[in-house]
């Protein structure tokens, strides 16, 4: 039993030692990879829209909006995500640009 406790405490100590060094690095790199994935998706969508002569919101070029954008509801103060907004209008864009979800 004391041997098990010793082993356990050594393992825990190792984990605690490693934690301060590894966790922020992991978190930063995860955040960076999320940003990079978002940038890739935005770039893909912009290309998809440009090919079809659509504006950044998926409407024909030359469309004007109350308040300058359809992504902000002036009555609620709520901002809408552009990708979600365009994907709702153009499911094909989602198929083309959204990262495939992992199968369970």
């Amino acid at each position: 039993m004391p041997a098990v406790e010793l082993l356990l405490s050594l393992l825990l100590a190792g984990a605690l030692d490693a934690a301060p060094k590894d966790k922020p690095v992991t978190s930063k790199s995860k955040s960076a990879s999320v940003k990079a994935a978002r940038a890739r998706e935005e770039k893909c969508l912009d290309g998809w829209l440009a090919e079809r002569k659509l504006d950044p919101y998926g409407m024909p070029e030359g469309t004007m909006y109350a308040g300058g954008t359809p992504l902000f509801d002036e009555a609620t103060g709520r901002q809408i995500d552009r990708l979600e907004y365009v994907y709702r209008k153009h499911p094909a864009a989602k198929t083309a640009c959204a990262p495939a979800r992992k199968a369970r």
Binding site: E61, Y65, G67, E74
Partner: protein, 458 residues
């Protein structure tokens, strides 16, 4: 636009200002306000004394006959003027002033009959305080020192602002109704470029709210005030019921407003564009240039992406591009910024409560408070007659404050758009980094300084 978001009627069955002023509600950061509304009609300070009418009889009418007529109209007691057959009539309980007046006015012996108006002390010199019950909640006007501004200039109908938007609730036509608080507002003939007819009625809510900030009927004991309430409005519909339009119709709308003549004059001096897009357009740019050459000032919203980019056409050099600040004079989180930003004006932040009638938070969201119809009722029931006062936020709401100031500057005698723009920019209160910066442009507009420094009152 989703119609599923809930409507928050703060003061649903409220009838008076006392109730309004006393109502408090905590705001939470995650509250979702479709719109917050205050229902109408309400009367704060009465225009007329209740239960009293004045009636003047013709000289030939004797006091006995006069007495019979007054009794027949609902009079309980009457006080005769010492200077002629004129009476102050106190009505019996249950008799309405309007009914009594209707009866008296049909009687052959009556010269005239009118309600007994409330007389008030004159305003302080240089200050004009409007008697609109919800004016005290228009923190966005107080921020601009509106009462001192009105002491200098209120505008008149020789200057008109064309509102290119979703239309305005300016007439009774088909399912559309004129907004009650546009009672005294003058409207020039407009055009609907979406449906191509002459009835530029609002089917969204946006345009009516924007137009109300410019020239809501003011000092009429109803609702709220408008900043350039003496000026005329022209409704030009270039956005559909979803708030969407195109370069082509916007350019058409600009040309319509610029070319409109009445009695040989071009009354439209200002064009308000609480709209924009992400791409540029030669047709819109050229229409703006034609407007500028014709002496018309174009004011446009910087956009609501909260990004370092100014929407088109606000980014054009001939346009006054307007960003938004909240009740603290901090850039509103949605307001675009960038090198083409000209000035900022109050656009509000619906998630904050930093303002109130006494300068302290009042439990209401800091949106721009104006009249429009309930868009949910419009969509669900096809009715455009459910008018309330709504708190709405955005650079769309900041823009008409600047358009109104431009209109007042025209009334002061300035005639050139470049001079109007310079007057507005040069007198703005510097915010943020010293001098012009991309967050606030030249700063928060200062109508009092602009109007005192330029034109008639120089």
């Amino acid at each position: 636009m989703s119609r599923a978001i809930r409507l928050l009627a703060f003061f649903g069955a409220l009838a008076g200002v006392a109730g309004f002023a006393g109502h408090r509600r905590d705001l939470k950061a995650d509250d979702v306000y479709r719109v917050a509304s205050i229902r109408i009609p309400e009367r704060g300070r009465r225009a007329y004394r209740p239960g009293e009418v004045i009636v003047q009889f013709k000289d030939a009418v004797g006091d006995r006959d006069a007495s019979d007529m007054m009794r027949e109209a609902g009079g309980r007691t009457a006080r005769r003027s010492r200077f002629g057959p004129r009476f102050l009539v106190h009505l019996d309980d249950g008799f309405e002033i309007a009914d009594a007046l209707d009866r008296l006015r049909t009687m052959p012996g009556v010269e005239f009959a009118e309600p007994n108006g409330v007389a008030r002390a004159f305003q302080s010199a240089g200050i004009f305080t409007p008697h609109d019950p919800f004016y005290t909640s228009q923190w966005h006007f107080k921020m601009l020192n509106s009462e001192r501004m009105w002491g200098i200039q209120k505008g008149d109908t020789s200057v008109a602002v064309a509102v290119l938007d979703t239309g305005i609730a300016y007439e009774d036509f088909g399912p559309y109704r004129k907004a009650p608080d546009f009672g005294g507002t003058v409207f020039l003939p407009g055009h609907d470029f979406i449906n191509d007819d002459d009835h530029a009625n609002d089917d969204n809510f946006h345009g009516t709210h924007v137009a109300s900030t410019i020239a809501e009927a003011t000092d009429n004991n109803v609702g709220v005030a408008g900043l350039a309430f003496g000026c005329a409005l022209m409704p030009v519909k270039v956005l559909d019921a979803e708030g969407v339009g195109s370069f082509f119709v916007v350019a058409e709308g600009i040309d319509y407003a610029v070319n409109f003549t009445q009695n040989g004059q071009h009354p439209v001096k200002v064009i308000n564009l609480s709209l924009g897009g992400d791409t540029t357009s030669t047709s819109v740019r050229q229409a703006v240039d034609r407007a500028t050459a014709a002496g018309v000032t174009v004011v446009a919203a910087a956009g609501n992406d909260g990004e370092n980019k100014i929407s088109f056409p606000a980014a054009l050099p001939n346009v006054i591009g307007v960003g938004a600040v909240d009740g603290r004079k901090v850039r509103a989180p949605y307001s675009n910024f960038g090198p083409e930003l000209s000035v900022v004006a109050p656009g509000g932040d619906i998630r904050r409560d930093d303002t109130g009638p006494d300068g302290v938070p009042d439990g209401r969201p800091d949106g721009v408070l104006q009249q429009t119809f309930d868009p949910d009722v419009a969509e669900q029931e096809g009715r455009y007659d459910e008018f309330h006062y709504f708190f709405v936020v955005g650079t769309s709401q900041a823009t008409p404050h600047v358009a109104a100031l431009a209109a007042l500057l025209y009334r002061q005698g300035i005639t050139q758009p470049a001079a109007i723009k310079a007057a507005i920019e040069n007198t703005a209160d510097d915010l943020g980094a010293p001098g012009r910066d991309d967050t606030f442009g030249h700063g928060l507009i200062n109508p009092v300084t602009a109007l005192k420094g330029y034109g008639l009152n120089q």
